[in-house]
Symmetry: C2
Subunit: 526 residues, 2 copies
């Protein structure tokens, strides 16, 4: 049997001895084979200690070796073949085609970061040459960024590949030069083991120091909290609920040495439909919106959970078309029993809020953890006075807020908490309102998009998958895209350090061929 119920500590695949836990098939509601051994406190300590021991060796490897390691991880993940996809499908209920796409995306992410490592811009190499004749003389000052240290990664339930064991957090931390200790997500334990072993094989094939990667199995919050509290850990990457993220933030802040936590948590992703766009194609936008809302059973961080428009015939047409499209959507299996229960509870609660009306529901739920999509509507006054309506519902539920006028629409916008995305559907006729809205949305969201749908996050250099609290715990960063690497770096200045002790990135002869800032000017390598 290929999945053995093991975790990875350094170069060893081990069965934890602190009890067992099983994966769960949300379509059949059945526990899956095999049982996984849970990590003891000693296991957490062993993984973190190995990571600390690996750190200096790993961070000082030539960039090319780190880049090849990332690429080799991608190769080994691809080599898992259908086995990985089948296990992930059984554990998550996500369709096979989606998981195949997600695996490709995961490997593309690893390869993107290999390119980022080779290009070396992330080091931000900066040289201010000595000015011995100046009064007072200026010393020789050089700066580069170095990695923070071992990083704890908590995967997400909704992306068992792209935001999990070898997902964006792991790829960007390894690219930065940080060893990684993953806490495997309980919603896809077997998937985690298969991917973890692919990373382990890549580490061995590339002769990486032991401890560059470990993966622990834990139940509840205990192992995760012990991981974040461990002195060797210097930063945390997390994707999940607001409650889970904030628990890690609190643990990190209470350490003797507080550490940064990059938690991507909660977002309802406002979706604006302006009058010109509605006049042109209210029905088309309504259908596109429902496709985005129900994709992946609504289990995307960027799921559009809030629609904002001006009350009137256009918004009515949008709502009617969206309602009609929603009714045709079959119920889909959610990722876990817990998520399914939370969704049912949140929808039930929304049904009871005064001033909120149910517009339409999706197909009846079948067996297992299937969820029925739901669309509600309300007015701005109700929205502004019902804090519950601002809470993320993780799943295919959304709410249309009808505003009386533009002032009302801006008041609703200013009232919103931080978001991962804000979407605007507008035509040239909406230019004035869009121009007024854009600077407000910039301050609320990490990504502002026009005439599209927020689900689907491109992995590239300009992507920002982040945003003001509570979308994330650190608005200054992104967890997707090339600049995610910056989360795991800090600058160090070298003053009059002898040439033979200087890091290569800062040597006069620029052996790494970096673009560097010299005396305030960016300089291409000679």
């Amino acid at each position: 049997m290929p999945v053995k119920g093991e975790m990875i500590i350094g170069r060893r695949a081990v069965r934890g001895s602190a009890g067992t836990v099983r994966a769960f098939n949300p379509a059949t509601c059945a526990a899956m084979e095999p049982a996984f051994g849970l990590a003891t406190t000693a296991d957490v300590d062993a993984a973190c200690t190995l990571a600390e021991q690996a750190f200096d060796t790993y961070r000082n490897l030539q960039p090319e070796r780190r880049a090849r390691f990332l690429e080799t991880i991608a190769d080994h993940i691809m080599a898992t073949g259908p086995l990985l996809i089948e296990r992930a499908h059984d554990e998550s209920g996500l369709p096979v085609a989606r998981l195949e796409g997600e695996r490709a995306r995961t490997c593309n992410q690893l390869r993107l970061f290999a390119g980022v490592v080779r290009a070396g811009h992330f080091m931000a190499a900066t040289l201010d040459p000595a000015l011995p004749q100046r009064i007072p003389p200026r010393p020789d000052l050089r700066m580069r960024r170095i990695p923070l240290g071992p990083v704890a990664v908590f995967g997400a339930s909704n992306f068992p590949l792209a935001f999990s064991v070898a997902g964006g957090d792991t790829a960007s931390a390894l690219a930065a030069g940080c060893p990684v200790v993953v806490k495997a997500h309980g919603a896809h334990l077997g998937t985690a083991e298969l991917v973890g072993k692919a990373v382990l094989e890549a580490a061995i094939a590339c002769d990486m120091p032991e401890g560059v990667f470990s993966m622990l199995i834990g139940e509840g919050r205990q192992a995760g909290q012990a991981l974040v509290a461990h002195p060797a850990i210097k930063a945390v990457g997390f994707t999940g609920s607001r409650q889970g993220g904030m628990a890690l933030v609190q643990t990190a802040n209470a350490r003797k040495e507080p550490i940064p936590v990059y938690a991507e948590m909660s977002s309802i992703n406002p979706f604006y439909v302006l009058p010109g766009a509605l006049a042109r194609d209210a029905a088309g936008i309504g259908r596109g919106f429902v496709d985005s809302l129900t994709m992946g059973v609504g289990q995307f961080c960027t799921n559009p959970g809030l629609v904002i428009g001006l009350a009137g015939a256009g918004l009515d047409a949008f709502r009617d078309a969206a309602g009609e499209a929603l009714r045709t959507k079959a119920a889909g299996t959610m990722l876990t029993a817990g998520i399914h229960k939370a969704y049912a509870g949140a929808v039930g609660k929304r049904n009871g809020i005064a001033g909120v009306r149910l517009v339409a529901q999706g197909g009846e739920t079948g067996q297992g953890c299937a969820a029925r999509a739901a669309l509600y509507e309300t007015d701005a006054a109700t929205f502004l006075t019902s804090p519950d309506l601002e809470e993320e519902i993780f799943g295919p539920a959304s709410l249309v807020v009808a505003c009386r006028d533009e002032a009302d629409l801006l008041a609703v916008t200013r009232h919103l908490e931080g978001q991962l995305t804000a979407t605007v559907h507008a035509t040239g006729d909406d230019r004035e309102l869009a121009a007024t809205l854009l600077p407000v949305l910039e301050r609320k969201a990490g990504r502002v998009l026009f005439n599209g749908y927020p689900t689907g996050v491109e992995v590239c250099h300009a992507m920002v998958h982040g945003g003001p609290f509570p979308a994330t715990s650190d608005a200054r960063t992104t967890s997707v895209g090339a600049t995610a690497i910056e989360r795991f770096l800090r600058p160090v200045c070298y003053q009059d350090v002898p040439i033979d002790l200087l890091p290569e990135a800062l040597r006069d002869d620029n052996p790494l061929g970096l673009v560097r800032m010299v005396d305030g000017q960016l300089r291409a390598p000679q």
Copy 2:
């Protein structure tokens, strides 16, 4: 009388009505005229609300206008003439020549940031053009950094000009596009008023929006805590004690929307004297060290409070020369009565620690808040088991730790908390030990310097005045140098945003002439 006891709220100079407080002359121990009115809660709210109202206008000004504003502030500070220097001298006890130098440095900082604004690298403009033929198609994605919002600045007692009202935090926040609300430091209220009015005049001369700058007078922690808790404030810059910094961090973390706090707090700045360097010039290094230790009565963040070397004749010679030099140093007036009292208390406590010996003391203290320099010595075993010896003593006191061997020296180094600086005196003969030490020091400090002295922080592009906790509350940043601006920025991605709504930094025709990253490649403007 030029100093009127006023604070600044938007465009108004106002006298607070929540009681009064006076400046204090630490040389004469006399309270100074005039009384300053303290800010009410309504004053704090008014300043923050104006800052919020100014934000969108200010952040969207052409970079050239922001740059000129910074330069105009420098011009107005220079125009304060001897009046500012005399008041700062009376309030701080710092020598006139030092304050003149510090004023020049403050203006240079403002001008450096004007250059940073004009160059525009801080915006990190990034374009990933659409790939309509790809499957699935890639949308048009562009990214820039925008300012976080209004920033609260808490000045430092030890740099009444360069780290205060118009110091590095204010300059970098204004450069980023953030309005600033300063809480004036009680140790130099009159200096703060004069500089605050220079900023106000510059804001008026440059036609800046009202609220781009305010300065509040508060006593104790109340006004400061209210400032950090205000919803309009989106980041905090602070320089001061660990206790004071952590109090602000806690307030910031407890907000409904937590915000980043950049607190530069506590550092003992280890100073390594390796055998080769001691063999060459133990006495010279000892004298240079004492000059650095006693400069500004030891009241520098980068003051060398810890000397680490291998026990033996070389270290003895260093210690004897340092002791001899120290005895010739006259007592100096400290910045405030509180600092003086804390210094006396800390030195008294150190005298009582078993295994610690007093090597030498500086000249007797005279009247007022004068402090006597002190040099102690101990061994590594005592240091490793006495946590009190790792606490910063703010003032001219240092401790020589004699290590038995290199392993002992590395153990002491690994044991240290985070630091702003680490200094190594070494020759070619020390290469092996220096090479072993450097990667350990990189992880402990924001700046590593060789064969120099840590006091004296150059304002340039490669400077890092930061470091791991408790040196700062955020090791990923610096509070001095061009990259200090990055503390006040966050990235925003624009997806398929219509050309006429795109910010200038991201337009196809690149009207700001920025170096931009296009499809992963840095591109100079055409």
